[in-house]
Symmetry: C2
Subunit: 410 residues, 2 copies
Amino acid sequence: MDLQKSPLAPASFPPMADISGVRFATVAAGIKYKGRTDLMLAEFVPGTTVAGVFTNSKTASAPVLKCREYLPGGQARALVVNSGNSNAFTGRRGEESVDHILKAVADAVGCAESEVFSASTGVIGEPLPHNLIVDAMPGLQGALGGTTWQQAAEAIMTTDTYPKGVSRTTKIGDTEVHINGFVKGSGMIAPDMATMLGYIFTDAAIGADVLQALLAPASDASFNCITVDSDTSTSDTVMMFATAQAGNAAPQGVNDPALNDFKRALDEVTLDLAHQVVRDGEGATKFVAITVTGAENDLAAKRIGLSIANSPLVKTAIAGEDANWGRIVMAVGKAGEAADRDKMGILIGGVQVTQDGMRVEGYDEAPVVKHMQGQEIEIEVEVGIANGRATVWTCDLTHGYISINGDYRS
Amino acid sequence: MDLQKSPLAPASFPPMADISGVRFATVAAGIKYKGRTDLMLAEFVPGTTVAGVFTNSKTASAPVLKCREYLPGGQARALVVNSGNSNAFTGRRGEESVDHILKAVADAVGCAESEVFSASTGVIGEPLPHNLIVDAMPGLQGALGGTTWQQAAEAIMTTDTYPKGVSRTTKIGDTEVHINGFVKGSGMIAPDMATMLGYIFTDAAIGADVLQALLAPASDASFNCITVDSDTSTSDTVMMFATAQAGNAAPQGVNDPALNDFKRALDEVTLDLAHQVVRDGEGATKFVAITVTGAENDLAAKRIGLSIANSPLVKTAIAGEDANWGRIVMAVGKAGEAADRDKMGILIGGVQVTQDGMRVEGYDEAPVVKHMQGQEIEIEVEVGIANGRATVWTCDLTHGYISINGDYRS
């Protein structure tokens, strides 16, 4: 099917920094799609460290299982990603496909298989035609360096309607370093984990342990705070690669003050990418930020926020531009976390709608309706228990979601 | 909006038994809807016992809170239900509305307020115009007895497209007794609790404690095993009234063998009503039964079943008649319960699709596609851990759901 570009998409793919030590190549390997690239190879200089977070799914895909196995080595020389087929629920045969692919990449790049990380995204349960990937590898290796960040991001898309990238320049100590990232994802998005394929690259020198300790909380505050449809991919992967080409002194640990700026920049990168995923949510016409305050703790606040963000009734009301705050009350109630009905307050677009457990006296719906007609919806809920706080992000639920998922076999 | 009758609706409202000791009246009180009844009064003979199960929502409605307060008394003389307004999240004012209503009913029927049970269903957060209900009460009382079961069921409907009733005749010991029930519900249906308004009536003599012990497990195996949209009402209520007019000896306890037939009949009544709710699921075009076997225990099986039943991707695939079993694998994986990927098997419409963690050799999709084109969809999933087993029921997710909930303020 032809997918229209999301109305919430950024104007264009952003300018990206140079990250010394990483080169890309892409090709149309013909795995499933016609007339577009579907295979991406990234090669890293020796000494590149790696971190990763993966799906919590009990039916994780074969590439995810292999990434988990090799991650403790901490070294990466290559990343290979195909779209069109997720190689998930493909049994023993799927594991063999991963072995074939990693061997082909290791041969092409000249490294150990344990330094190669892979991912596959697309339809679940179809055997992956790994020969197409293996056969393409020598050509891909020869083409390394001629591919832009945007082209790399495009090769891993499935139902995405635009490529999603972000770039930041920051410092570690006095040394300028860069962080680039790209991500794919628009359906099967739920925040129980790293919810998509996301790749982040830096030219900084950062040991693998520190890199992992940086990536995990940054993912938790971004990728794990978004939801499109409450569904969780079998292939979710966020990885980060540090090529050590910038010349900074390697941080002594995750609490090294030299990392302060870098942490902030990394948080910006992961949050920007996470928001881009929501903005490309299948059928999305509105970007929704939900902030919960006054919960028992931050985790409780996040659970309440996600209960609202995942509620089909809230999401369809937003699609219909209906300021139906009763459904927000319902979603708070079903979250299972403490909420004091008589101290609850709801703001929509900054306008107080309820206070002390009931609609405000003389409630004027007009400014709220006006806010609901915009593309950026803000919902704040105070639940009146303690000081727990969280913000989560989602999109509305529209006819577009039904059309995409009733027709497309993803 | 005009709602088309669900294509999954039964041919007609069933013939209902006479239940001696209960009389109904309904009226168009003008609470919200035009041109239809929206207020129902049931009067019970003295000595009628009562049982109930209610929403687990942390934002339960004012009537639910009051029902909980009076339920331990075990005696019921009246039930009053309005549609069009749920009197939920209406704060102190909502509680006062309930007090006014209960007093008016108690005066009209001639009983204590603690013997009156009420429910309200409809929009959340609007003050309930309780004067309309109070003023209607003398007229309603005068009209008692002239109203059919179907008319009573119709008065409490909101987005329902047909009234839902069921009737069974059974025995306690050697005495013939009857069970009638009706229910409303088609959206905001999730199985964390009694998920709708449901009322069950019997002419049997059954003590309140035994009645409660009968109702709770029957609800759990029926109303708590269905989901339309994973959303949970603030007003969910299932109550059961026993008028003691049939002349049976009151059972000695819930394990009294004289109750064996009655239990079976009650299970049939609750399951039939629960299925009718799913068949009237907002926008539903397919009725879906999902059976999970091989889970760690029955609760784990139910959680996996509900993860499948609540997955928007599974439900849209069913709407699209797409045998996309990969999404079932995904939903099993995200449930968080143990599942052995390499022992998993999926059957659709009785056809083995996967076995031992991958698609069966020589898989022929044709019979599965044919099954998906029907109105009754059967999915079986073996997860390969132990002997836990559960069946849950849901409907598909269609454009109709989006239309109903993007337009209608429920």
